[in-house]
Symmetry: C2
Subunit: 742 residues, 2 copies
């Protein structure tokens, strides 16, 4: 090749590197007191310098609102996440441990988390009375191409190897996700392709796409696929795919294994109308400030939320940084690099006795499965498992005050670990706030029929814990909502940006009759590809204690006997206690309805009903992929909506500990096949919430939130309505508010 191209190549390399640094800088904050001299991840000059080169991507970076300093943190609860100091201690122990000690710089940390003490230890721990149980960590690292799982005794210093899964690889490090996209920048064929497509190298933005696993082709090799976009003229490069270009890269050597270009002739969609940033609209609106002017410039007439917090703020207590107390509820809440947000030891006060009663030992999103529905070369492999491949928590960015969460929200940071083992802080990753929606907790009016003049109504007030994971284009809004009546609603909201496909079509009249376009034409040359989302939650239920049973209360038509009644039929409920795991594999059917109870068979109400909680599905979707299709084998944990397994500390991740390039040998489905007894045992309930998404034009260029949820609801858990004695709201309970911008 000639001199100019090699020079060009050097520039591209520099750009790529600069981008990596900029990137990490823009969202990480280094704890005070940590030496940064050896890592350039946090080098301001580079970041700012490169930022100017990436002008279209916007440099309006605001300094994040100061959060609590973490360098002085100490754990206060057995389930508190590793502190900055503990992570540094673990890092030292790992680097001193053979064989890593021979070349610490070759050690890459893929995960480093608290190794939670055994349940009985945690359950018996009394705050104030007992010291913290010994602090232990569990690390997943790679060293010279091999993966290791290690238990680390932070006090004693012992580092103990644990078994390593037979197949699959650990969750990618952020460093890999960022840097490997740019490996192809050094490849002449790649550069030639980009040139052919008429894209300036400085406008190229690439995404690291997990390849799934489709057979022996890339066996024993850790690979990633990079696909690229043009960011020219928009921050929303996702709408400008360089269609059909896929670069296969070796994750360990950064070597480009193969470049596939099936997209020649497919134009890159225009940047017009794709940018969603307010600053950009303000520019278009010639910097109009007020709503009125803004509206003339095409702004929606939108006023500020008309409901805002009382000065007392919400009655949310955040104790020792991680224990939330509110409205009879108490639970432990923390950030997790893989699960995102973890709720532990959720218990509720029984208003009849004042006693605290346990409901849920641990609840979290265990895995996601997001298969796209296009078998084409550049699309078939897009079957993401966002928790195990990318780290659902690692992708959670700081929440936007006033917009992601109400003004009175409280925030919790995450403390995570970079590939070099150093800790970093993800600020304002979780918010907690009290919510009043204007809904009614319970009510009754007497009608003229009985003539009793009764008008009793109680407003519903709830508590929300929220985090948002931005896995590249998509944003997952994860809410845990706690109600005073004991109900827990777990809600997933989908927003963010679609993964779109370039097409030569600019109008539907160019498509053949009944042509399978695998999606919807959203704009000229842009197809929103059909896909599903599945979020599988692991719910370690402890209903009034660890020993629980799973009961299916089936409702079916019962025909009456001749002459028994003028009615021919009625709905009859029958209770079935699940004896083994297979009894508890549930596929929901509208015409075979049932309730799904987790009960404590040893605890009965006054009149003899077993105390319990039920999982209450709402709108959901089921995967229709062929069970033998490789993605569905890896995502087999979505084969049922409900599973119940006996508690097993090693069974936390529905897709297996190592899901990257996994083969589906170690999923919830394989565990459940063992058909272990589950009656009167410590149970784990698994629920999968699903969405089918056929995109529509309203999803362009950014999607209005779509959400769905399911509930954990008390069923004969309380003797009677636990909020019977809630006070009605009176005028003088309410604050007086005055405008600030009138």
């Amino acid at each position: 090749m000639d001199h100019s191209t090699s020079l060009l190549r050097l520039i591209f390399l520099a750009l790529g590197a600069a981008l990596v640094l900029l990137v990490l800088h823009s969202t990480f904050r280094l704890p005070r007191g940590i030496d940064t001299s050896t890592t350039s991840l946090f080098d301001d000059a580079v970041a700012v310098g490169s930022c100017t080169r990436f002008a279209p991507w916007g440099c309006n970076r605001k300094k994040p609102k100061a959060a609590a300093s973490h360098d002085t943190d100490v754990p206060r609860h057995p389930l508190d996440p590793l502190t900055v100091a503990e992570i540094n201690r673990a890092r030292e122990l790992l680097r001193a441990h053979p064989p890593f000690s021979s070349s610490p710089s070759s050690l890459f940390v893929h995960s480093l988390e608290l190794d939670e003490p055994d349940k009985p230890v945690v359950q018996s721990w009394k705050k104030g009375a007992d010291p913290l149980p010994p602090r232990r960590a569990v690390a997943v690292v790679r060293f010279r191409g091999d993966a290791f799982v290690l238990a680390i005794d932070l006090a004693g210093g012992a580092v103990t190897p644990l078994p390593v899964p037979a197949s699959g690889y650990p969750t990618m490090t952020m460093d890999e996700q960022v840097s490997l996209c740019f490996a192809p920048f050094s490849d002449p064929e790649f550069n030639a392709t980009i040139r052919r497509r008429g894209v300036r190298m400085s406008d190229v933005a690439c995404l690291p796409i997990s390849p799934g696993w489709y057979g022996p082709a890339e066996e024993n090799r850790r690979v990633i696929k990079s696909q690229c976009f043009s960011a020219e003229g928009t921050a929303n490069f996702y709408m400008r795919p360089i269609e059909g270009l896929t670069v296969l890269i070796d994750m360990d050597t950064s070597e480009v294994i193969h470049i596939s270009d099936r997209g020649t002739g497919i134009p890159i969609p225009s940047a017009a109308n794709t940018d969603y940033r307010y600053i950009r609209h303000m520019e278009e609106g010639r910097h109009l400030k007020s709503t009125e002017e803004g509206q003339e410039a095409g702004f929606q007439k939108v006023r500020a939320p008309s409901m805002e917090p009382a000065p007392a703020g919400a009655g949310v207590e955040l104790v020792d940084g991680h224990t939330v107390r509110w409205g009879g509820w108490e639970f432990h809440l923390k950030a997790d690099a893989r699960a995102g947000m973890v709720v532990s030891r959720a218990g509720v006060q029984d208003p009849a006795t004042g006693a605290r009663r346990e409901v849920l030992y641990k609840g979290m999103a265990s895995e996601l499965f997001v298969p796209y529905m296009d078998p084409a070369e550049a699309w078939y492999f897009k079957t993401y498992m966002d928790a195990g491949e990318y780290g659902f928590g690692l992708q959670a960015m700081p929440l936007v005050p006033l917009n992601d969460c109400p003004r009175h929200a409280r925030y919790i940071d995450g403390v995570f670990v970079a590939a070099d083992g150093r800790p970093y802080v993800r600020e304002n990753m979780i918010c907690v706030f009290e919510r009043y929606t204007g809904d009614v907790a319970w009510r009754h009016s007497e009608s003229p029929i009985t003539g009793m003049d009764i008008r009793e109504s109680r407003p519903k007030v709830t508590l929300v814990a929220r985090m948002v994971a931005s896995v590249a284009n998509y944003d997952y809004i994860m809410d845990w909502e706690f109600q005073m009546d004991g109900l827990i609603r777990i809600k997933v909201g989908l927003s963010g940006i679609l993964m779109v496909k370039g097409t030569t079509y600019s109008h539907m009249n160019q498509a053949r009759e009944n042509e399978d376009m695998h999606g919807t034409l959203l704009s000229e040359n842009v197809i929103g590809v059909i896909h599903d989302h599945y979020v599988t939650f692991r719910l370690d239920m402890d209903v009034d204690g660890a020993e629980n049973s799973f009961v299916r209360v089936e409702m079916a038509r019962q025909e009456t006997a001749p002459g028994e009644s003028p009615r021919k039929s009625y709905l009859k409920a029958t209770r079935h206690v699940a004896r083994t795991e297979k009894d508890a594999q549930v596929r929901l059917k509208l015409y075979e309805p049932a309730e799904f109870h987790v009960v404590n068979p040893t605890k009965k109400t006054r009149v003899g009903n077993p105390v319990g909680y039920k999982v209450v599905p709402a709108g959901t979707a089921a995967s229709l992929l062929d069970p033998e299709d490789p993605p569905q084998k890896r995502g087999a944990f979505t084969n049922n909506q409900i599973w119940v397994t006996p508690y097993n500390k090693s069974e936390e991740w529905a897709g297996g500990l190592f899901v990257y390039q996994s083969r589906g040998e170690d999923t919830l489905a394989t565990w459940s096949e063992r058909d272990r007894p589950i009656e009167n045992k410590d149970l784990v309930l698994w629920y999968t919430l699903g969405f089918h998404h056929i995109p529509c034009q309203e999803d362009f260029p950014i999607m209005p939130t779509v959400s769905s949820s399911f509930d954990l609801k008390p069923v004969n858990f309380f003797e009677s309505n636990p909020i019977l004695k809630q006070r009605p709201t009176k005028e003088d309970d309410l604050p007086i508010c005055t405008a600030t911008n009138a």
Copy 2:
């Protein structure tokens, strides 16, 4: 019979009569300027007098918050409900019309409503420019045992008979619902039964229960069943059934046809822990005032909602009393005696063009179906159709400020008609308020993967229109929620009090193994009987115009051809345009997913997609009763979740115009069987939202609200995300609030 019993009987009769009067008084307000001399419904003396006799039912009657005077109302919109003056005018015309003129006092008005002008007339009407179209009323009356349906020209005075349905009877009048319960008080056998059960006559509260229709037994006779309870020691008499006692009454003669008593030996459940009124808890709590003290006395620790309105209040415009404008939406909102709440002419502003685009011509709850699941003599007939039998709007009571609706809510009254044809006002029956829940309208953050420092998020603000119908024991909270992105969420909340059954059991250990108890033992001697709720909505969709088509977008597994792709399968979407009604009968299946679009085939987006709205089901339930079971034949409109019919002004009520004792000859199911063409026509979409309810102890003595919903959502209706240019909220958009009761 001896002298004392006949004396006793007289007293009971007096009590019954007094109760009727009290009852009506307690919830009706007579418009100013209406002569009350001829009606005793509003006689204060009687009301207060009897009130004292019914002490347990509470006399803490507060004067309703003054509403707008209605006696000067004039209609301002073609769809405005009949005014007080128009109702009086219609009454005069009816009473002067033969044969009614021969004996006006024998004329009973069962319904008197606006006869809405034809759609084209309403659609072409321009406010300000055009006069109102001629005002017409339609009345359903009974006279000497016959039903009449009459069209009334309010200006010209013409009264024109319309066809009368072959079977069934009109909606009961409130007067009948109230008075007929007490007919049996004059019956010696009834009195003897009550005595045997040990209930004081002054404690007896009875309910009027629609009998359904089970064959020729009571043919050609309008009957009702009365069942009674003991109100001794509680306002919640529903929890104290005199089990098994059913009195069959002729509605026209008030004659007791038959008394069935199958409950001897079944104790009346205790009053303990059944009362839910705050005043009662305050008494128990020795009049404790503050939350803290209250809590000691057993009150839940509950603070006032922590979010409250900005001083500007919500940005809700209520124009001419019935037209709501908010956030791009405009629609007409009114109370209806049968449907409860009616939304008309809902249109949304297209932010791209500023044009107002129609979505929904008329939407309302058309009918309900609430079958109980016990074939016993005293239960089999409980299969309520609350709209057509009781009047869903007639049962809607004044909303409770601050508790049913937020402080800044606006209220709309209902103007209804008593049996004698006189108007009365139901105050604060509908509320409208802007809501901010803390949810996110859309958002995206860039992750470190791309390194673009983007944190864009927009809060979701919505508008809610709400009414609550209290049909005897149950409370139905009906919400229509309008979002700025064009989505309409229709939500039904269930609260209030269960219909329970007395039992000899006080503990489950008294029940036989697998005994079918038809419900759950909620408390000693109280069974909460299993039942379903179905609410069928009539949605006259006009998506960008009247001519629409119904499209089923079916998603199914598509296997790939050998060698086509490493993927074996994917999800393929196929569009099916429904040609006739039967093509559009939908039973939802999780494993046969589809989207359901109402599109305008003549209107395409820029890239050629037909503009549309889709109906998006969420959690629901389907009736499992035998299709040949009389209740299911009458409730056949619940046989599918979705139906589509061509617009027909006469097809408004899914169970038929006369559903009382109807035989299922005139339901949505029979109309749809005609299989009329529905392609590119003015369409009506019907959606049924269902609930299975197996009661649990938490539902005792009053139910925490359970709700479900469905959405009408734009699908390629807008060219792109219509809220893309919504402004983010800034600190100075928000009010400053200070406590009032700190």
